[in-house]
Amino acid sequence: MPGRQSRRSVLAAIAALPLTGTLGACSGSGSGGSGGTSTTTRITFWSAIRGSQEVVDAFNRTHDRVQVDFQQIPSGGQGGYAKLSNAARAGNAPDVATIEYPEVPGFAIDGVASDITSLISDRLRARLLPQSLGLTTFQDRTFSVPLDIEPMVLHYRADLFDRYGLTVPRTWEEFEQTARAVRRKAPDRRLALFPTDGAMNFAAYAWQAGAQWFDTRSGAWNVSLADRPTRHVAAYWQRLIDDDLVFMNPGDSRQFDAQVGNGLILARLTGAWDAGAQMNERPGQRGLWRIAPLPQWDPDRPAVGTHGGSTFAVTKDSRHPEAAMEFIEWQVSHADALRARLSSGASSAYPTVPDLVAVGRDAFDRSYYSDQDIYTLFEEQAHAVRDGWVWGPRMTATSRVMQDGFARASGGEGTIIDSVRDAQAGTMPDLRALGLSTSEHST
């Protein structure tokens, strides 16, 4: 569940809670605790994900040996990651922290997320979708446990597709034709948005097309943001932008809210989680949206990338890693945990533990999507996630530089591929200053 879904709830939480900072956290990380009962282990947990308080309450009700102190923190981009880094520097990071997939390597390199390979039970390992675990494992060492995996899908306005006589595009070629048809038939509407703050969306397109921005072969970070598949994807979207077939503005903005709210945009290309977010944010559009697989480059060999998703890490400052791991395992794999999370509001986050899919499916109000069985679709798409993708060691910074370029491109300066190259050029000095072995390709 990335920041955008939980943005509102997080903002509300920031407004409601005083910033208790790290004091509350470090006081709770000691052992022993309540009433001198030495059998109870207290651990601390930080998360920005909505519904975490409910999950923690459910855990504390059903467990005696381990008790969790929860602190709601801002989402990563809003300061949550800076808070975690600073706490780790000060030596009082929480036992369990929430980290989104792209930031896992960074926190692992900084030593904030500790190596939990030996702590993960074989039972849990067997239940997790391998593609998701692959994203948190480096050199056969696992640094965090995935909660959800979010294949990118095509959310579309079925009513407007009907009105303009459009069919759901199965390939990117059809997607382009559909975009042209939309512009022709309804000049003020567009098929989709190319978000200027959407480095993660662009990464998902590149991932699907077979790009490999980072790889860790031969013990070095090999960086090739502008590889052949990425150049292909960039050229494709550049054409759509140049021909004015898509909007190009920030996705996390009132402008985009208005575009979706007023039906100016016919399709959203986002992760599975966005189905629930859309439901919560725009109840008035009930029955108008449907979900389809992401268009493919080659329909015979379908593949997708992911957009969003969170993981849980045990930090280096945890004095009770086993207890922390017990809580994490319960949280990602127990049906009660998911039920508790869903009690705080609808969510379509797709669990990495397949047994939980049925729980999510039962709890999800299908009427918003006109009884479409979106979970079956997500299940197929989750298995189509292309294996082998690796996020980089400083993904927040890499995305920011890329998005700075996208923003300039939307103002008529530069192109998408320029932005991608700038992102690589702005990332390499960082990696070198961190003392990592690096190599650069495809500049």
Binding site: I109, R400, A407, S437
Partner: protein, 334 residues
């Protein structure tokens, strides 16, 4: 400059004490000059201590820490996973900073900012001060107050006010212009830098004007009167007589403005909340902030800070040398 000032009175007052002392004191104090010298040193010490304490705690220690940080890093070779050790890395972080296109473009942005801002600021403040000094403006003290008031507004509040005026949809300025069929995007690719210059001008014009005005008050009236008698009009008297006489303050204002500009941070940081055209590494100071708090790369941040400090010192020194050389050259021709 400040620490040497209190020492001067001590020099003039000490000798009389020594000479008026009678014979017995002369015996006890083996050497009156030594006593005077010691007292003088004591006075110097007491008067200069606050300055040195502050210099050490808020300047030398932080600079030393930054320099130290820039030479060390927490390393784990290869992919970087696993336990980290603090190791000496030499100039590695400096090499990274100087090879980082985003840092260099930040420096470029600040240089462009200086090129636009400093001349406009100095000329604007000087023109206003000359206007006030010439007596053209009525309600002089009110005009001064009105011009100075924005300087009393903290930078962050100023940026918020201007953010409101710049943001399409909520800005009354854009709305009024829109009614006249003029569309302006104050936060566009090419307009964002002038927009930041405008905020800085608004904040600092009055302050620098006051400095120039004070300097103009010190210009001997006879000189101006002589010029008027010789037939100089008010404009000519202002440009050719008064302006050269306040040149030291012009140099000082330009220098301070320049040092302040190199550290450009508050305004772009705040505007970046609203305009994607301001990148997260827009200026060197923003680069340093981003390196430390987004990238969690403290040695890189420290190296960038030291590079910025060296640039600032070198450029300030260069400007000072240049102006003093011009001064002495001019005096020689007189």
């Amino acid at each position: 400059m400040t620490p040497s000032a209190p020492a001067t009175p001590a020099v003039t007052t000490a000798p009389p004490n020594g000479t008026t002392a009678d014979g017995s004191r002369r015996v006890r104090a083996r050497d009156p000059r030594k006593v005077a010298r010691r007292r003088q040193l004591g006075a110097c010490g007491v008067l200069m201590a606050p300055f040195f304490i502050l210099l050490v705690t808020v300047f030398l220690i932080p600079v030393g820490t930054a320099v130290w940080l820039s030479f060390f890093s927490e390393d784990q070779p290869g992919l970087g996973f696993g336990p980290e050790r603090t190791v000496f890395v030499g100039l590695r972080s400096y090499a990274a900073v100087l090879n980082d296109p985003t840092f260099l473009s930040g420096l470029g942005t600040v240089v462009l900012y200086c090129v636009i801002y400093i001349p406009v600021m100095v000329l604007g403040a000087l023109a206003l001060a000359l206007l006030l000094d010439s007596g053209v403006v009525r309600l002089r003290s009110w005009a001064q107050l009105g011009l100075f008031l924005p300087h009393a507004v903290p930078g962050i509040i100023a940026a918020l006010i201007w953010l409101y005026l710049y943001t399409p949809g909520i800005s009354p300025v854009i709305e009024v212009l829109g009614k006249a069929d003029i569309t302006v995007d104050f936060l566009g690719v090419h307009t964002v830098l002038p927009s930041i210059v405008n905020i800085a001008l608004w904040s600092n014009l009055g302050y620098n004007m006051v400095i120039f005005y004070a300097a103009l008050q010190a210009v001997p009236r006879e000189v101006v009167e002589a010029a008027v008698v010789d037939g100089a009009g008010p404009v000519r008297a202002a440009v050719q007589v008064k302006t050269p006489l306040v040149r030291p303050s012009i140099v000082m204002v330009a220098m301070f403005t320049f040092i302040w500009s190199l550290q450009l941070f508050t305004e772009p940081m705040l505007l970046s909340q609203s305009s994607p055209m301001i990148s997260s590494r827009f200026s060197p100071s923003m680069y340093i902030y981003d390196a430390a708090f987004t990238r969690n790369n403290y040695s890189l941040a420290a190296a960038a800070a030291v590079v910025l400090l060296i640039c600032t010192i070198a450029l300030s020194y260069g400007v000072t040398r240049w102006t003093s050389r011009v001064n002495s050259a001019e005096e020689a021709t007189r």
